[in-house]
Amino acid sequence: MADPIRAHVEVSSSGADQFVTLYYDVFDNKRHILNHLYRDSSAILWNGNAHSGISPFQEFYNKLPASEHTVESYDCHPLPSRSQDPNTPCSVIVNVSGTVQYSNEKQKRLFSQSFVLSPDPVNGSFYVWSDCFRFV
């Protein structure tokens, strides 16, 4: 397909597959390395609480009880590239829905989490550009 975005469907959706599996595994089981998925410039919103970059967010999630996320649904879109160069990978928006059980709670909560993933201009690896989490 000549359509530049269409060409990104495969890359973006398999990237979303990988990311969703990785993210919740890290969040639930290896939270100490979660910070590697973010940058200091990441915009992070947790139930309306804004965290400016990874450091304050780290402080927050270290206090969050142990969690178990169950993903029920996710979808993603490739976003138009900010660069003229067609080989530059484009950013991806990924929306995830599911349930989360915190270790101190009896009932599972429903959550909706929306990520924008963007390639690092230096090494090309993707990181969380923004993260918007809500109980729903």
């Binding site: 975005i5 804004a50 979808d75 879109h77 809500r134 729903v136």
Partner: protein, 538 residues
């Protein structure tokens, strides 16, 4: 494929014979045959033909539904003085609490009400001769999130009889009315004040903040908050941050986003094909369905929802693994999005007048796309509009990425300040709006102001504001017409609201200043402190 036909027969014997065929297979489909009451049967109730127990009980339920329909209005279920109700009397249905009433009539009524009106927040059971709450205890099962309950002018004379609906059963109850019950009047007469009475009632209903239309005295607090709460209660446990309401990085984003969403969702409901102009020529749209019943649906024991109209195009990547399917379920460009995507979704209605039904997080972000854009996430509910006027509530989550509409673009020429680059929608079972209700609304200051103050990532240089954007809020908000701007200033003068809240209020009241004033006055107690005009620190 599902569908239904209804047919009428002459008498009950025929009806039973037809109903007995339910479950047979026809063209590889199972036929389910149900009886429904129609007016002739309802009106002939008590007549000679009313003998079959199945049919007459389905008539009873249908009568109760008719009755409930006549008693419901916008979240308020008015069940006052049921023994005088013509519909129930004609059908000889004795309401709960009266002597000789069937023990399950309260439960049947509440179950039907919860199915028909899941968004009930207020119930009045005034003047029903209730001596106990036992006959209406099913309220807690079917309306676990009830906020307001009136039991005015009943015959409750014992505190024990209240415990059928205590805070353990209704954790979100906010207001209770017991005026005109012996339990209150007798105590007040005996003690010459209502102190003992109010103390007893608030021990049973610990969550209420208003009793008999007066605020409950604040409790002394030791700052341990939820830590010392009864663990058995389903109240919020100690998470390291409170739930906060809508987030906007600045008032300008707020006004642009509210204007965009108001216009977009209204057009989505009323004139969907016109939305073609709101999408960029390279925009993407897709939707997915989360079919698992919501916690609210589970708590009400609701049958599984039918998602068959949505499944064929649902782009849940957890299930859709094939690249071809992943590609065809993603719509590209405004025409494809409208013709193949949006127009094929069921008709909807978003209740934009009630802001509490929605939760919006939005901020501006530069460096992501070639232009500065706004990221929006909205959670909320919509009504699926069906031909038989049945109300089907669904919850949804929807992200938009919007960018300034280029001059002379189709979007700009159709009055859109912003054009949609990406639109992703999730449908799920109805779960109400409690999940984003801010914690401790009264004591904790200001969702929005505090969030913005602590939000440097949202204002840092790499996330620059739209160039040329007004800084001082008194400059007309981008996206407001001069008329809207003037109305906002007028409302500011009349109410003392600040500019962004005045705009928000006007959007909620259809740009009617008088309605805006009324709305402000009605909700004065609940409006956050940062909504009012403050001396400038600049």
């Amino acid at each position: 494929m599902t569908g239904f036909v209804s047919f009428t027969v002459d008498n009950l014997t025929q009806a039973k014979a037809v109903k007995a065929l339910s479950g047979i297979r026809f063209k590889r489909m199972k036929l389910l045959i149900k009886t429904t009451a129609d007016d002739t049967i309802l009106n002939s109730s008590g007549g000679a033909s009313r003998t079959g127990t199945t049919v007459s009980s389905s008539n009873t339920i249908e009568t109760i539904r008719t009755f409930l329909r006549s008693r419901y209005n916008g979240g308020f279920l008015n069940l006052e003085n049921m023994s005088k109700d013509e519909i129930l009397r004609t059908a000889r249905i004795i309401p709960p609490g009266r002597s000789k009433s069937r023990s399950d009539v309260g439960a049947v009524m509440m179950k039907a009400a919860a199915e028909m009106f899941p968004d009930v927040t207020t119930i009045s059971l005034a003047s029903n001769g209730l001596t106990s709450l036992e006959p209406v205890a099913a309220i807690s099962k079917f309306f676990p999130n009830l906020q307001n309950l009136s039991l005015k002018d009943n015959s409750i004379s014992n505190y024990k009889e209240l415990e059928y609906l205590s805070t353990k059963k209704l954790p979100n109850l906010r207001e209770l009315i017991l005026m005109g019950n012996p339990i209150r009047e007798r105590d007040i007469e005996k003690n010459k004040d209502d102190i003992a009475y109010r103390s007893e009632v608030t021990k049973i209903f610990t969550s209420i903040s208003i009793l008999d239309q007066l605020p409950v005295a604040p409790k002394i607090s030791f700052g341990l908050g939820n830590l010392v709460k009864d663990v058995g209660v389903t109240s919020a446990p100690p998470l390291p941050a409170p739930i906060k309401g809508n987030f906007f990085d600045n008032p300008e984003t707020q006004s642009m986003v509210l204007e965009f969403l108001t216009r977009y969702l209204d057009m989505f409901d009323t004139n969907r094909s016109m939305l073609e102009h709101a999408y960029d020529s390279n925009a993407t749209f897709s939707y997915s369905v989360m079919i698992q019943p919501s916690p609210l649906q589970k708590s009400k024991g609701k049958p599984t929802e039918n998602w068959s109209a949505y499944i064929p195009q649902s782009r849940n990547l957890l299930r859709i693994r094939d690249l071809g399917q992943r590609t065809t379920r993603l719509y590209f460009g405004s025409q494809d999005i409208i013709q193949q995507g949006l127009m094929k979704l069921p008709d909807t209605k978003h209740d934009l007048a009630d802001a509490s039904k929605f939760c919006i997080d939005a901020w501006q972000t530069g460096g992501l796309l070639p232009a500065v854009c706004i990221y929006i996430m909205i959670h909320g509910e919509l009504q699926e509009v069906r031909r038989n006027r049945e109300v089907i509530l669904k919850s949804f989550d929807r992200s938009f990425i919007i960018a300034p509409a280029p001059p002379n673009s189709s979007a700009a020429m159709h009055g859109w300040k912003c054009v949609i680059v990406s639109d992703q929608l999730v449908f799920r079972g109805y779960n109400g709006s409690l999940a984003w209700k801010p914690d401790e609304e009264i004591n904790v200051t200001p969702g929005m102001a505090a969030a913005v103050a602590g939000a440097s990532a949202f204002n840092n240089p790499s996330l620059a504001p739209v160039p040329g954007a007004p800084v001082a809020p008194q400059v007309p908000m981008k996206g407001t017409t001069p008329e809207q701007h003037a109305k906002a200033q007028e409302l500011q003068k009349l109410t003392g609201l600040n500019y962004p809240y005045a705009l928000q209020c006007l959007m909620a009241s259809g740009w009617d200043v008088a309605k805006g004033v009324a709305l402000t006055n009605e909700n004065r107690a609940n409006i956050p402190p940062d909504a009012w005009q403050q001396p400038s620190f600049r």
